[in-house]
């Protein structure tokens, strides 16, 4: 159950700068901690987040062990055309999650 949460305005004016907020459920285990029995807990983090707007990549972020659990990433872009925003998270142990949001530009 790792449903990402995306928040974009449904409608924006052409040329307007708008905010995109994303939140995903992930433990972001650093790999530096030890269990109560003394074994190292293996790293399990999201390593890459990217967002594309009508197929063109507009934002990308590398994530590292210092990121908190349930990473929240917010960024801005300019409204050009109506279309789809695609979000992708990839990480350790084959973690992969995608989400989409549609936006209407007037």
């Amino acid at each position: 159950m790792a449903r990402p949460l995306i928040n974009v305005p449904a409608k924006v004016k052409r040329g307007q700068i708008f905010e995109i907020k994303t939140l995903i459920s992930h433990v972001m285990e650093t790999g530096y901690r030890y269990s109560t029995t003394g074994e190292r807990i293996p790293r399990d983090i999201v390593t890459l987040f990217s967002c594309s707007y009508n197929g063109e990549e507009i934002f990308r972020a590398d994530l590292y062990p210092a990121m908190s659990a349930n990473p929240f990433i917010a960024f801005f872009t300019m409204a050009t055309e109506s279309g789809t925003l695609e979000f992708k998270w990839t990480g350790d142990n084959g973690f992969s999650e995608t989400a989409t949001a549609t936006i209407t530009v007037e």
Partner: protein, 269 residues
Amino acid sequence: MNRSAPSLCALGHRAAMAAVITLAVAGSAYTADIPLDQRRSGYADLGRDSKAMQDDDTVNPATLWVLDGEVLWNQKAGAANRACADCHGDATTSMKGVAARYPAFSPARNGPIDLEQRINLCRTERQQAPPLPFESRDLLALTAFVGRQSRGMAIAEASDERLKPFIEAGRKLFTQRLGQINLSCAQCHDDNWGKRLAGVLLPQGHPNGYPLYRLEWQGVGSLQRRLRNCLIGMRAEPYEYGAPENVNMELFLMWRARGLKIETTAVRP
């Protein structure tokens, strides 16, 4: 998955000893309950960023748990093959106000049960499914989802006469000195709230936002987890999850916070 130690434990030994001495002096005159009009939610002491995190559901990470809880609410479970929704219908109406009046008296247990225990009773009796373990993702998700339906409502004053002795038992525990540091809950949260224990602000300790997202936990946790944290910080042995002492304490804390608004799911440092 407790990433860092409870705040009291994180204090250096010397700082802890200094705190004990200060509190021992201050604690000699126990001032009893906080006047009703002086009570304040922990929200009031949050920084601007944490407030913004709690206020916006799309930013509050506890929303991830609430959404999971909504899925579980509609999911059939157990030998009875029934979902919560099959009996209770739409949670936005049927569960409205429920979290504001729990823990409630259970005739079967002859004592109070909290919301987590109520959910598990439903699971075992109505759904004929195994109970969900305390602090499991699923139980927290369901509790957060049910609790969210009461957001903004005032905590109801316990009117059930049968609860009275349990409130008193909770109060007794709240004012009792415990652990190696020999502190009571009341010494910090009744007598010295608003002051600092080393660098940490002492809140009044109201339970109006649980289950909540605690930044220190990097996740959602229950009120019982928080109570156990405090006890470990006092170097006392915490009560087991679901122990009557914990539930009595929850009940007393809800009585003590009567009238405050439910903030589930809150964000706290």
